[in-house]
Symmetry: C2
Subunit: 323 residues, 2 copies
Amino acid sequence: MVDVARHAGVSLKTVSRVVNKAPNVQQELVNRVLAAVDELGFRRNQLASALRSGQQTATVGLLIEEIANPFYATIAHVAAEVAAGFDSLLITASSEEDPVREERLLRDLCARRVDGLLVVPAGYDHAFLKSEVEQGIPVVFLDRPAGGLVADTVLLDNRGGARAGVEHLLTQGHRRIGILLDTIGVYTMHERLGGAQDALAAASVPYDAGLVRDGVRDPVTAATAVAEMLDSADPPTAFFALNNRITVGVVQELWRRKSQAAIVGFDDFELSHLMPMPLTLIAYDTRELARQAAELLFARIAKESFWPRTVVLPTQLVQRGLQ
Amino acid sequence: MVDVARHAGVSLKTVSRVVNKAPNVQQELVNRVLAAVDELGFRRNQLASALRSGQQTATVGLLIEEIANPFYATIAHVAAEVAAGFDSLLITASSEEDPVREERLLRDLCARRVDGLLVVPAGYDHAFLKSEVEQGIPVVFLDRPAGGLVADTVLLDNRGGARAGVEHLLTQGHRRIGILLDTIGVYTMHERLGGAQDALAAASVPYDAGLVRDGVRDPVTAATAVAEMLDSADPPTAFFALNNRITVGVVQELWRRKSQAAIVGFDDFELSHLMPMPLTLIAYDTRELARQAAELLFARIAKESFWPRTVVLPTQLVQRGLQ
DNA sequence: CACACTCCATACAACGTTGTCCGTGTGGGT
DNA sequence: ACCCACACGGACAACGTTGTATGGAGTGTG
């Protein structure tokens, strides 16, 4: 800035005024300064600026599990969109479902003095964020609730959606329903399984733990699990897949052996309508999930104070696949 | 830090030494300081740290078109992985194919003093980055080359891949091949179309501009274009889709009308093997593309000096879809 | 001609941290 | 008793920017 001032023949302070679009500067000087800025290729140092003038880094942290997953990619997209509306950029970090990594990344983001945090929790204890929150960094959790911390949260109606999905199978006469899920420890999986159990109980269908498989991490293990269950003595006539990767695996195996078993899956996915068999899916608006969370965060950043909110978004039963 | 020093009964300087893991500090003092850090919830201010000690923000900028697109999501994932290996975080920004937005975002990233930039260009002129590069911010371009700037670049063999794809159709006897592409102005599209023309010319098949449709932005317009071409007087017997969104649209329309036309598509995609008809796809290793670019960038950041490199990665013809 | 007002220069401190230099005390080796 | 390395404190400047304060030149007003 000193160079720019010299080059434009004005004072350092005037350059600062121009760069910050402060009023009370003659148009001619503004032009001279801008010309000098252009000529010297000057860019104001955001670090120094943020350091000096209180705390506005115009940067927001987003912590997700894995950016390659379309669900989180959508969240990142919407969050970036909302952030852009507030002239902010997004630092996206992936915890890979590892609570240790999660804590390290969140601390790092705080050290960078981001204006706020959007977090899809991987761990169960976020008490370590308490001091940061007290020091004024707003945090909004989405998709999963925080542990040991009262904070704004935006969730999906996992339980209600799962219940509706299983009810759909029950009204079609299915009584033996294979249920496939990823890690039971993850909040969403736990809730969805709970919803399925609710539906079974409401219809007085006994809950058979032998029909439930957990640790189904990807399409391949899902296909294997389906094969085993279908080859058992009393096979299921329908499957409930608790996420879209599992749904894909189930489709693959059922199609391979031309099975007529029904499928209900949690999560819609991009090419679901091109799948070779009818699917009933529990869909929801991922964009809306992210939008609400991001806007909540920026409301907090703008110092709007209100009690921590928890928003729960509805799900919807839809029919997909080639008929 | 002053508070921490007081609380631990040591000097400010010693706290700095401990926080920076400098040698020559007694273990007992280290423990006292760390205890005080923990108790007061102190986090070193990265901004101030980076400002003072030269330039190491441990942050890298990634500019892509759109994070919701799985191709870019994969790039973001790998870039973040590599960055994590260097204890860095990623600021991801989406240009949405808008050169104006691109320039604004890149300037913003430079103002934040990122250690380096990974850029998938949207515009054609990146001369404005020259001064930044001279000031020491390394830039690596990927998937598309930069305009008006000599810099490290990692590309795919778009032309060779497209040529191989069309050659595949030609050897199967197809002579009328419908070609569908997105904006011709985009580098990748231009190269792929060029490769297709190369193949046609090599086989002495006349190039019929009536068989080429551009401006095919999504699956729906692709399906419409396919319908129109099939309903024309002399319909194509095969289609070459220049990206995966177009491929999906072609599949949809061909399946709807039970057409036997052949498909070759550029880009593989996640559920391609579950598509209801055989597809020949030009696949490539997106992860490798991103990995090479990211590692090139960090090599530059580590001040390894060598002539700007251009790396071109091969493509591969693969068979997909339910047979 | 005194007065207020605008526009700007100059000077200085501060944001939180780190590099440098110097000074001091301690313990170990000759 | 000597020297020396080591561990630490204290003081200060600096990174690039912005907020505050002060004063001066120029313009317009009564």
